[in-house]
Symmetry: C2
Amino acid sequence: MQTTKFFLKDKDVPKKWYNLAADLPTPLLPPLGPDGKPITPDMLKPVFPENLIEQEVSTKRWIDIPEEILEILYRWRPTPLRRAIYLEKYLKTPARIYYKDESVSPAGSHKTNTSIPQAWYNKKFGIKKLTTETGAGQWGCALAFACQLVGLECKVYMVRVSFEQKPMRKTMMQVWGAKCLASPSEFTQAGRDILKKMPDTPGSLGIAISEAVEDAVSDKTGQTRYSLGSVLNHVLLHQTIIGLEAKKQLAIAKEKKVDVVIGCAGGGSNFGGIAFPFAYDKIHGKKITIIPVESASCPKMTRGKFSYDFGDVSGMTPLLAMMTLGHQFIPAPIHAGGLRYHAMAPLVSQGIVEGLLTPKAYDQAQAYEAALLWAKTEGFICAPETSHAIACVIDEAKKAKAEGKQKVILFNYSGHGLMDLVGYDKYLSGQLKGYCLPEDELIDTLKTLEGFPKANARKTGKW
Amino acid sequence: MQTTKFFLKDKDVPKKWYNLAADLPTPLLPPLGPDGKPITPDMLKPVFPENLIEQEVSTKRWIDIPEEILEILYRWRPTPLRRAIYLEKYLKTPARIYYKDESVSPAGSHKTNTSIPQAWYNKKFGIKKLTTETGAGQWGCALAFACQLVGLECKVYMVRVSFEQKPMRKTMMQVWGAKCLASPSEFTQAGRDILKKMPDTPGSLGIAISEAVEDAVSDKTGQTRYSLGSVLNHVLLHQTIIGLEAKKQLAIAKEKKVDVVIGCAGGGSNFGGIAFPFAYDKIHGKKITIIPVESASCPKMTRGKFSYDFGDVSGMTPLLAMMTLGHQFIPAPIHAGGLRYHAMAPLVSQGIVEGLLTPKAYDQAQAYEAALLWAKTEGFICAPETSHAIACVIDEAKKAKAEGKQKVILFNYSGHGLMDLVGYDKYLSGQLKGYCLPEDELIDTLKTLEGFPKANARKTGKW
């Protein structure tokens, strides 16, 4: 009998989050306002509560996780670390493949690791209601769940086309007591303006963000705030509980070192969650390959620019220093909705520039092929985003075989695919092809960055 | 910090299944053939492999679980035992509520506990292919998954209306390499006959069973067999791993006794799985209330007859001694598809007659109300079948409060509801009502049992 599951006791759940901003060789570049000057924490107050703004700008290495947040996370945390021995056997690789199973959360993905703290800090600050946007629905579900447990109202603006195509995501949010509206809606000025011009628009994430932010800042009582599911520093901070737990579990599995750490990366929170605690080790001398995996249809990390850019399509957010394809880039409609974001979190982006992280891109045909092999060997059905990480894991395991090395590979199993079976169906019936962004489109979209402030981070040359 | 999750180590997974047939006060009544005489194991050979027929008729108390089966079950077993402290707090009950979480299996329910052994024993016996029927798709998914891992072909006849309404279930089966056909199909004589008469029929479980059995027995090479997901003795046997694990976990939770054990019951395998190991304790003197929970729309246990009856609508199976509403009963189209079976497993049925088990019925409006309270307090979205058990748990917890007793309540959380959100949507939008079988319909349907052989089991008067 071979043990394939490694559990922690509740009491061994990490009590602090890890903040990579404390350890990056170059200090993180500040967000800039419309005037090109660094924005102050005060300017964020209408949008986020002060306690989360503090975390957003913090350079403290370790930040305490309040006991009340841990009490909620205990419902599904610590999550299991599993070893994929059946995939290993199939590949005949000498590598040992471990995965952190974040799919066990009630909302089905890692997103709850930040939705719970965000809801809790808002509640603590006296906020009564959170607004957010959601594309495919993962984040909307996670925030609805968190608001239900913490005791906040929740309003989710869901991109109309997803609202109509994925009605079950809306139902999940409603089960957890949230209000879910198709965006654009009649409820906000931004929504009404768009509907007037384009009554039949399918909506977009950019529009939905505009609506959610407007809804939050226009509450005259000051009791509504906005919540974001990825990209920002405090969101990635909350996710580091994944990697911190994984470290303890690898020790239980008697692994002394990790050679490769892999996570898919859309906005960067899932990847940062598993990777940053290992990036700390790498900064402090350990030899680890750390790979954020993106979709070849939205290759901001492998083919984008490190530049200041807007976080949203309509240019409402501050300018952030990111690996980006330009904020007006509209990626192809691949099934991994979570990977369809034009830019990468500042913390991950700077890690790439400094050579700490080495991104790779896979197209969705490769990803579905990997997902089917995963289901065939390990038995579980993964999310379309997760399948991109698995495609990379398979390549790394084959490489270890070619090199004859007993490498330890760790990846984040960010979510299950039970709400996303349509993509599997299309792949199985031959209707789904790989898609890689053509060079001319890339050149076109990067033009939107002309004239933006330059972003520089030191290339350490160390890694 | 209060511990709410109780894990077993892999090595502590039970190594034997428990067979209630060894301990029932009255020996189990034998199945009868078309001539009214007990059928012999030989007569079952075209349908099931001999090793499973042996288990079906065994009266041995403990049956070894082969190590190779355990190796597969370890992928998700032991499943967690959890304590529902948030529901307890909400109800202000002195009761301690525990639930065994079977929703963590890759196919999402307890069904894999028997699909794996069934596939393995068939493979061992030299079988190459399994056929089965499925209604809502839970069982079809579990068998597809098992055949994929064990290395068998799998063909699932899915009731046409479900095939069309729940296309994602079909996709799941295909991801695991199974062939899934809408039933009635052109592939079997039974299917073709029906299609000729009723080209637009939505299909039924009865028709699908006929097709799956015909497919199995008509394979001239003798390498195909049929597989059933509930009702039969060997199926319930395989599920007892649930209750056996739960016992060990309650000991870890430092509970010395259990007062109430609850499981929803459609064909009886989920209920038998959690309950039989505790029924053993009750037979041997412990005071435990054991409640199988059915749908009020299909009340075979609380309002049916204990009689010999067919297992299927078309009368192809042997006659089994069961609590039944008559094999031609067509229940209302409630969302808990797994509870829409006209009869109850012989082992559970006889336990009811003997007074060992005390069934209760809930209608689906009560069940959805319970499911929403569960999502609000515990955070998880449960299957519509499971919600019936939760409705009963809530009543028992309220009773404990009224009595001022610190009871321990255990129930089986048989599956998650992520593939069944349509019912939640209907409930939330006010389109779903409770439904209780009217008395005149009950009288009508029971008439189909007239002239069937009598079934008697001793009412012990002890419980």
